[in-house]
Amino acid sequence: MRSRSIPRRTVLRGLLGAGSVALGLPLLEAMLDSHGEALADGAPLPLRFGVWFWGNGTQPGAWAPQVQGAGWEATGLLAGLAPVKEHVSVISGGNLPVLKVRNPHAEGAVGILAGGNPLLHPSYNGQNNDWDFLTVPSASVDQIAADHLAGSSPFRSLVLAITPVHTSDAGSINAPGTAISYISHPAPYVFNPPIMDPSELFAALFGVITPGEIQPAALARARVLDAIKGDAADLRTRLGKNDRSRLDQHLEGVHELQNRLTAMVMGGESCVMPVDPGNPESERLRARAMAELTAMAFACDLSRVVSLEFSSPASHVDYPDIGITGDGLGTSFHEYEHQKGYDANVLKGLGYFVEVFGDFVAALGAIPEAGGTLLDRSCIFGTSDVAGGWNHAMNDFPLLVAGRAGGALVSPGVHVALGGDKATRVPFTCLKAVGAPVTSFGGDQLATDQVVAELLV
C-alpha cells in the first residue's frame, strides 16, 4: 500500500472563480454552456473509460445467462447486477488463450488487460517464484485509453485499489515483477501505484481549494519542473534504448504534474465539492466511496480514466464484509477456493464481486450530465485474471461492459455469447467505443482487431 503525504497543491484553484466555497454547493454551473451539453469553452463533454478488476474470476459455465440480447436475466452469479441491469452488458463464452507457461494469475491479468503474454525479467534464474518477475509487454488498456482521452485533465488517470495488493512494493530481492500485484501499467516494469484510502483520494482531488488566480506557489513548482525537463533532455542523449524509454516514462509524469499545477479546470453541471469520506473499515464501503469520488472527478473533469483493483490477481485476501475471513476458512479467498472448489462460500464471493462492480456502475449512473448521466458517456470494463480460480480455467472469461460511451454502446445492455472467440475483443470494443484511435489491441496469440459488434450501436 502506498502511503504518501497529501500534496499541498491547488488542483481546483481555477474552478471556483471569486468567492468562498461551501461544501456540497454546486460549483460550476456558470462554466457550462446554456444547454448543459458542453463545457463553457465550447469543448464537447468528454467520454470516460474505466477498468474494474477483481481477482480469481468466476465459475465458468455458470457465468452465462440463459437468454441472449437485452432480455438477459440478472440471476445466479449475476444477481448483484439487477439494480443496474439496463446499463450493463454481459459477455459469455470469451476465451483467453494464454500460453500456460507462467503463473496463471499473472498470465490472465496481463492477457486480458494488456492483450499479451507476460514479460519475464532477464534476471529470473529459477531461484524464485516466476510471478515476482513478470510484467506487461506493453501498456494496459486503461493507459491506452488515457493516451486518447486524458487531454489536459489534471489527472491522466485515477488508479485505485480496495483490498491489500499483493505487495507493498515490487522490490523484493531479485524481484522486479509487477504483474501479480498491479493492473495499471503505462509500460513494462512501470506500474501506477494505486491509492487505497478514499480519504487520500479525496485529498488528492479536492484537498486544497484556493479561489481565484493560479497561486504563485503552484507556478513556482511548475517552473522548477522546466529544469527537470532540461536535465532529462541532456541525460537522454547518453542513454541506451532501455533507459531512454524508462526516462521518457518518468518525463511523462513530470509533464502531467506540470499540467496539473498550471491547469484551469473546467467542471460540469454536477460538479460539487464532495465530503471527505474517510477510510471505511468495510471493503464494500471503501469501494463505494472510491466510486463516488471517481464519479465526482469525472463530473468535474478532473480525470477521464479510472483503473480500480478491487482485489489483486489471485484474490489472495479476505472479504470480511461477506464473512470470508481467516476464521476456519483457510488463509485467503484464493487458498480457500483451491481447497474447496465452488462451494457455497466461494459462489457467494463470486457473486459479491459482480455486485460490487454494480455499485460502481450505480455511482456513475447517479450523477446527471447533459440530460443523462455520467454513465451515458462512459465505457466501464469489468473483468478478472482467470475464468475460474479453482483450476485456473481461461475459457468463459468474466467480461462486463457498462455505460453507453456517448451513444456508441447499445442500450439497454445485452448478453452476447462469443462462442469461444477471444476475450480480448471486449477491451478492444470498449476502446473503440470511447473513440480511441486504435486499429487493434494486444499482440501474439491474444491480438485482435475485431470488435464485438453486438455491443455497439
Partner: protein, 590 residues
C-alpha cells in the same frame, strides 16, 4: 488440472480474530502467496536440483563442490593502468533508481539533518536497476523535495548552515551559483557543468520573481529542483567507451566509481572525501579504490550500509510488517517482527563484520534480545526495551534457528518445512529448485483417518508419490530439522501432541537437530559461493552473465582465502573488472 503433489501446507486453522487480515499489508501478504504456490511436481525420473541454469558456473552445481578450486582467472592480463588487455569481464550498466532507503540517506547527506521521507517503489538493488517511475512516483518525489526544502529554508539558522551565504539575486551576486554548485555536486555525485549551474540559477531568479521578490524562496526551489532531477533520483553510472571507436566496452570514471562504492558500503551518496578522491584521480586504479574501501569500512556508517546487502538477500524488511495468528501464536505482537529484524541485524554485524567470518552466522551461539524476544526464547533475567547480547538456549544456534528467519519463512499460523527448505536452498545456497508446473493446484495434505500427524508424517505420506519425491527430498529435510520452531520461531517439543524428530540428512551428511545442521551449514562451500554471488549482484544491479563468471570465482577465492571475511570479498570486488567496467549489449545501442 489437479495434481497429487503438494507442499507441506498448514492445515486450515481455526479461530483468528475476524478482521485481522485487514491489517495485513505488503510483505506479509507476499508471504501468503508464496506459501500458496509451493506445490512441487516433477516427472519421476528427473532429479530435482539442476544447477544454476542461467548465469551459473560449475562452482555450485553440486553443493559439495570444492569452493577452493582454482578460479579460471580473467583479469591477469591487466596493464599497469588497470585497463584489461582483452574485452572486460563485465556486464551491463544503466540508470539505477535510488531505493527508498538510499533516497532518504542521500537527502540527509546532501541537506544536513532533515526529516527526510523514504520515497521510491523499488526496494532491491536489482529491481531498482530496471524499474520505472509512473506519474504518482514523480509526484511523490516532487512533494518530498518541496516539503523538505520548505521546512529547511523556513529556519534561518538551518538554511544559512546549508548555504553559507545570503542570496540577493542581484546582478553579480555569487551566492546562488555557489550554493547550486556545492549542493549540486553532493546531490549529483559529480561537478555540475556551467550550463547546469546556469539552469538552476535561472530557476532561482524566476521563482524569486514569481513569489514577489523572495531570493530565499527562489534558492529553495532551485535546491528542490536539484533533488528532483534524474541526476539525483537515478545513479547515473553509464561509463565511457574505453576506445572511442568501440561503444560496447565501457569503463566507469572516478565519480561513477565513487557512487558505486558509496552506495555499496554506506548505502548513500559519496561524502566529500570520496568526491575529492575521484577528482584527484585516486579511484582510477584498483589500489586507490582499495584504499577507499578501507576508509569506508572503518567508519561506523558501514554497519547499516553493509547490512543492507543482507536485508536485500534475506528480505528482512518483511519482518517490519510481520503478521501471525494471535490466537494460535499468542506471543505475537506488532512489535515482535521489528525486534526480530533488529536481532538479525545485530547478529549479522557481530559475525560478518566484527568477527569477520560469514560462516559464524550459521553456528554462532550469540543472540540479541529485548524483553519480548527473551520471553519468546525462554530466557530468564532482567531484560527491557534495549537489546542485549545473550547466549542462545542450547536448542538454538545460528541464523537458521533465529526467530526472524523462522518467522518470515512460515505461514501465519503454521510452519511449512518445504517453504523453509526452499528458502535455504534458493536464498542461502543459490540453488535452483524448479517452480511447480503452472497447472499444479496446491492442495493441503489432509491428516489421515487415524488422527493427528506431524509434518514429517504428512510429508512422508505425501512424497511416497514419486512425482513429488525428488524435489521434496531436496528441500524437506532442511525444513524438518527446523520443526522444533513454530511459525513465530518459538521452541516446541511436540507438534499436534506428537514428538518432533528434527534429525535428518543434508546432502549426504547426517545431523541430529537444527543446531547440528547449522554446523554443517557453516562448513558448506555453497554457502560462501552464494554470498559472493549476492554481493556481486547487489553491487552491480544485475544477475551475473556467463562472461562474468571468472569475476565471481575471484570473489569466492578471496572469501575462502580470508577465512570467509566479507571485507576481503568486497576488496576483490572493487578491484575486479566487473565493478570498474561495463559491457553494452549491441541491441541496446540507441
Amino acid at each position: 488440472m489437479d495434481s497429487p503433489c503438494a507442499a507441506a501446507q498448514p492445515p486450515p486453522t481455526p479461530g483468528p480474530a475476524a478482521g485481522r487480515r485487514r491489517r495485513r499489508r505488503g510483505a506479509s501478504a507476499r508471504r501468503s502467496i508464496a506459501l500458496a504456490g509451493l506445490a512441487l511436481a516433477l516427472v519421476p525420473s528427473l532429479a530435482c536440483y539442476q544447477g544454476i541454469e542461467l548465469g551459473g558456473d560449475d562452482s555450485s552445481s553440486t553443493s559439495s563442490a570444492s569452493a577452493a578450486s582454482t578460479a579460471s582467472g580473467g583479469s591477469g592480463d591487466e596493464t599497469s593502468g588497470g585497463e584489461p588487455a582483452e574485452a572486460p569481464l563485465a556486464g551491463p550498466t544503466g540508470l539505477r533508481l535510488l531505493t527508498p532507503t538510499q533516497y532518504r540517506n542521500s537527502l540527509i547527506d546532501v541537506l544536513g539533518e532533515v526529516a527526510a521521507p523514504a520515497v521510491g517503489q523499488w526496494r532491491s538493488s536489482i529491481a531498482a536497476a530496471q524499474g520505472g517511475v509512473a506519474s504518482a512516483g514523480v509526484e511523490d518525489y516532487e512533494d518530498a523535495a518541496i516539503t523538505v526544502t520548505a521546512a529547511l529554508f523556513a529556519d534561518p539558522d538551518a538554511r544559512l548552515a546549508l548555504t553559507g551565504c545570503t542570496p540577493a539575486l542581484l546582478p553579480g551576486d555569487p551566492c546562488v551559483a555557489q550554493v547550486i554548485t556545492e549542493v549540486g555536486r553532493r546531490a549529483w555525485r559529480r561537478p555540475l557543468s556551467a550550463g547546469e549551474v546556469e539552469r538552476y540559477v535561472d530557476v532561482a531568479a524566476d521563482v524569486s520573481e514569481i513569489l514577489g521578490g523572495d531570493p530565499w524562496g527562489g534558492l529553495q526551489h532551485a535546491v528542490a529542483g536539484l533533488l528532483q532531477s534524474p541526476n539525483f533520483l537515478y545513479r547515473v553510472e553509464l561509463g565511457t567507451p574505453t576506445d572511442p571507436d568501440d561503444p560496447l566496452h565501457l569503463r566507469f570514471d572516478g565519480h561513477e566509481l565513487a557512487s558505486r562504492l558509496s552506495y555499496l558500503l554506506w548505502n548513500t551518496t559519496p561524502d566529500d572525501a570520496l568526491l575529492q578522491a575521484a577528482e584527484r584521480g585516486d579511484l582510477d586504479d584498483p589500489e586507490g579504490l582499495s584504499a577507499e574501501v578501507d576508509r569506508l569500512l572503518a567508519s561506523p556508517r558501514a554497519r547499516d550500509g553493509v547490512v543492507q546487502l543482507f536485508v536485500d538477500m534475506f528480505d528482512l524488511d518483511a519482518l517490519l510488517s510481520l503478521q501471525k495468528d494471535p490466537m494460535l501464536l499468542p506471543a505475537f505482537s506488532p512489535t515482535i517482527g521489528p525486534a526480530m529484524r533488529e536481532e538479525l541485524v545485530r547478529v549479522i554485524e557481530s559475525t560478518v563484520l566484527v568477527e569477520g567470518d560469514y560462516r559464524r552466522l550459521f553456528d554462532t551461539q550469540e543472540g540479541f534480545v529485548d524483553a519480548e524476544l527473551a520471553a519468546l526464547y525462554g530466557l530468564e533475567g532482567p531484560f527491557d526495551d534495549a537489546f542485549a547480547p545473550v547466549m542462545l538456549p542450547e536448542t538454538r544456534g545460528g541464523l537458521l534457528t533465529l526467530a526472524g528467519f523462522l518467522a518470515i519463512n512460515s505461514g501465519e499460523a503454521s510452519t511449512s518445512p518445504t517453504h523453509r527448505g526452499l528458502t535455504v536452498r534458493r536464498v542461502l545456497m543459490c540453488q535452483t529448485v524448479p517452480p511447480p508446473p503452472p497447472d499444479v493446484v496446491p492442495k493441503l495434505p489432509e491428516p489421515g483417518e487415524g488422527g493427528a500427524m506431524t509434518k514429517r508424517e504428512l510429508l512422508e505420506q505425501h512424497v511416497s508419490d514419486p512425482s513429488c519425491a525428488a524435489c521434496h527430498a531436496f528441500t524437506d529435510p532442511i525444513g524438518l530439522a527446523l520443526e522444533n520452531f513454530d511459525a513465530l520461531g518459538g521452541f516446541r517439543a511436540t507438534d499436534q501432541g506428537l514428538p518432533i524428530d528434527p534429525s535428518g540428512d543434508f546432502d549426504g551428511q547426517a545431523f541430529a537437530d537444527a543446531v547440528a545442521l547449522g554446523e554443517l551449514f557453516a562448513a558448506e562451500p555453497a554457502v560462501g559461493d552464494c554470498l559472493v554471488r549476492n554481493l556481486y549482484r547487489y553491487a552491480t544491479g544485475h544477475i551475473e552473465q556467463p562472461v562474468e563468471q571468472p569475476v565471481i570465482s575471484e570473489l569466492r577465492d578471496a572469501l575462502v582465502e580470508s577465512d570467509h571475511d566479507l571485507k576481503a570479498a568486497v576488496d576483490a570486488l572493487v578491484r575486479s573488472e566487473g565493478f570498474r567496467f561495463a559491457t553494452v549489449s549491441p541491441e541496446d545501442l540507441p
